[in-house]
Amino acid sequence: MKSLKAQQSILAIAQEQIGIIQYGPRADFMLEPFQDKLEKSGLFPLKPLPAEILQINIGKMCNQTCKHCHVDAGPDRKEIMTQETMQQCLDVLQENRHLKTVDLTGGAPEMNPHFRWFVSEIAALGRHVMVRCNLTIIRANKKYHDLPLFYKQHGVEVVSSLPFYTQDRTDRQRGNGVFEDSMKALQMLNEVGYGKEGTGLILNLVYNPAGAFLPPAQEALEREYKQALKERFNLEFNHLFAITNLPISRYLDYLLASGNYESYMEKLVASYNPVAAANVMCRNTISVGWDGYLYDCDFNQMLELKVNGGSQHISAFRSEELQQRAIVVGQHCYGCTAGAGSSCGGAVA
């Protein structure tokens, strides 16, 4: 499967996506503006809390082309963070001790040629490093087989997508053979101690719905995952994050093509939870794009909605200025406030 960009789809253009998300796919489709919901909850304008997490997208290149990907990542994407931009991120970390966690994402972040150097440098600064590893990259090529050991050496927290504990749902979303390779990769991670009690090596999994529906309760689902993976594959992990799909990029394309867009959005709006809204991840996170621009979250990044005011690039990072900003919101934000809420760390309410 090609990325939307390679297909020259209009949905590869951020402004086209925003037009659909904000105003609907047809003139008589109206949803309550997200801003109004926030106002009623006493949360507008949405203000940041002190930033603790620097989430860095180090490239859109990926060995997979998942149907739901909001990044539109894939083997045909060439956008990759340069070592110069990475150094600018390191400089920011050096000067801003409140940024305690660095969350590396992509694409497959491991495909960036400077990935290992970057992880080593961040770890040397004493920061907690999370890597959003798609699992199959570990099996994709011999040069990646030692990734579990590399992660272990640097105390990296591994966060991996596994849409379900059965093959059919996983492969339908992420491609044929992904489930089998994921099981083998998890086994390799378990073998070096990841997900095992007492090792301190954290392996968290991410569930996201393989279709136009919302995630179930995270806690109950985690129990089912643990039981199923242990019984069927003798695999262990620490926690499961249940994430809601946001109507962006390939997932937006899927919703529109399958005729589910309107009912899905209505469901998100009907499930708005003010407690989840108060705890959205954009309040304590700064997202950095592959080219160094700054965003409130990874979703705004894909919609090219840069931070509102102040320094907009990592090379001109000013923590105090960013702290004063209002977070940019839109109709897509309903995805993070539905039900128990959703963030890169799962449910928030």
Partner: protein, 111 residues
């Protein structure tokens, strides 16, 4: 009155039945919410039971709601279809077992 008895969008209006009788609706929805919580049976198991019952009572709103709910809670298509077959078997069996009543009556009135 609408032209059709059933409208998919009416499902989202379910809570509005309280507009005509609030106290009973409040009691019903409170009870309903309690029923579907994790307890002796998990919420996941209850979802599959609800799906089967929805088919037994042939409620299109319930089938809509619990097809989605069961998928959300991780049941697969084949598992859900087996649940529907359970409903079907019980409904079919309920008809067929009355055949015994018929046989008894036939025997009663026959030489």
């Amino acid at each position: 009155m609408n032209e059709h008895y059933y409208h998919a969008k009416d499902l989202a209006q379910f809570a509005n039945v309280g507009d005509f009788q609030k106290s009973l609706a409040d009691k019903f929805f409170s009870y309903y919410g309690e029923v579907f919580k994790d307890s002796e049976l998990t919420a996941r198991e209850k979802s599959l039971i609800a799906l089967a019952v929805a088919h037994a009572v042939q409620c299109p709103y319930c089938i809509d709601a619990y097809s989605t709910d069961a998928v959300e809670k991780g049941w697969s298509g084949p598992q859900m279809m087996e649940a529907v077959h359970v409903a079907c078997a019980i409904r079919g069996g309920a008809s067929l077992v009355h055949g015994v009543q018929m046989m008894n009556k036939v025997k009663d009135i026959s030489m």
